[in-house]
């Protein structure tokens, strides 16, 4: 029914949404990429990373959690918002230990790809070199908390998609970390390598053992095209048809 459609604008371009859709979902469908890290198509919105922050009628809102509404005037690609996004990504880099040069996820990592898309050459914040731990107890899966960005994708995927509840956060502030539903070790949980939670981590914090460096440099997800180009290209293709 046409009258049910919601109409609003993003950077001056008219976008339509179905009732109940978030700004991010409607933008995706319209081929407008709003940068995001914690949002994932198969998961409920969570609002952890704030990369997707846009201006809604002049006020900052997370696009992944805010429902689209008629007449919203949304700014996405402004100099200020882009710089805010850069700053968040830079914080994520300095608050972890990201050694991309040997990371199994490099080239397929959404955090790294976001930094590439935003042309980050150096973080403005000082490196923290925090002390983080690694859990290699599970036969097929490893957790490297040096690279965790606390996006809660694993938490949501395990609970909502795998029906297991393997992951949860513990601690607050800079002590916050992703923990597992056992005394100490991932191997004591019912986590299985075929779980959705295994593959859903945007960075190299949850990785499948014995799969690292399988894809040669040059053929990895973000070697040639920026993150988000799939969404933007879908629009370009639709327009040329």
């Amino acid at each position: 029914m046409m009258s049910d459609r919601i109409t609003f604008t993003i950077d001056g371009v008219e976008v339509q949404a179905d009732p109940g859709q978030t700004i991010l979902q409607a933008a995706d469908a319209a081929g407008v990429y709003i940068p995001r890290l914690c949002a994932h198509k198969e998961l409920n919105p969570f609002g952890a990373c704030r990369i997707c922050t846009v201006m809604v009628n002049g006020r900052p809102q997370a696009a992944c959690t805010t429902p689209a509404a008629n007449g919203m005037i949304i700014e996405n690609e402004t100099e200020e918002l882009t710089d805010n996004r850069r700053s968040i990504v830079e914080m994520l880099f300095v608050e972890g230990n990201h050694y991309c040069m040997y990371c199994e996820k490099s080239g397929n990592c959404e955090l790294q790809a976001m930094a590439y898309r935003l042309s980050i050459m150096v973080p403005r914040h000082p490196y923290q070199f925090p002390d983080k731990d690694i859990d290699g107890s599970h036969p097929d899966i490893m957790i490297d908390r040096n690279r965790c960005i606390l996006c809660a994708r694993c938490v949501r995927a395990s609970r909502d998609l795998d029906d297991k509840n393997v992951f949860q956060f513990v601690g607050r502030g800079k002590e916050k970390k992703v923990w597992i539903n056992s005394e100490a070790k991932l191997s004591d949980t019912d986590m299985d390598v075929t779980d959705k939670a295994t593959d859903i981590c945007p960075v190299g914090a949850i990785i499948k053992k014995r799969t690292g460096y399988e894809i040669p440099i040059g053929q990895r997800a973000y070697d040639h095209k920026p993150i988000g180009s799939d969404i933007e290209e879908a629009k370009a293709t639709a327009e040329s048809n």
Partner: protein, 183 residues
Amino acid sequence: MSTDKPKVATASLAGCFGCHMSILDIDDRILQLIDLVDFDKSPVDDIKEFTGRCAVGLIEGGCCNEENVRVLQDFRKHCDVLISLGECAICGGIPAMRNNVPLKECFDEAYRNGPSVHNPSGEYPSDPEIPLLLNKVYPCHEVVKMDYHLQGCPPPADTIWAALTALLTDKPVELPYELIKYD
């Protein structure tokens, strides 16, 4: 003879010389580069001290000891534009993996307890010739102001070439997507 050419200086601090290998990896473009510039203090020509003001300084590696800091400060003093070349210069890189291990533990592992260490006296090397280690490895821009950062481990020769030719011909350094890589 070539005094009117701008000068380029390079140094490898706490790095592996991989970034310098990448400079050489510009292949025959090095001949064009030599038309554009003279090399000053650099391991490439083995000139040990600055002979004058340099247009561009390329720094590989971060600062892991007091000598690295002195060299870096000297480069800042002599170079108009100072560039962090590669991950170690930008974020400390592999040497910075010691940053969450206390210094004493690093020394014990290196000079006392390591599996291949033979050191019956248990002494740490303390020759005045050996520069003192810093408490941790510092990225260059946390020690002096750095003007540009070329990412990569090492940065591809094309990245170095694009940045150098832009700087030496007074054009803005604009790298295409495919030349910004952290690995």
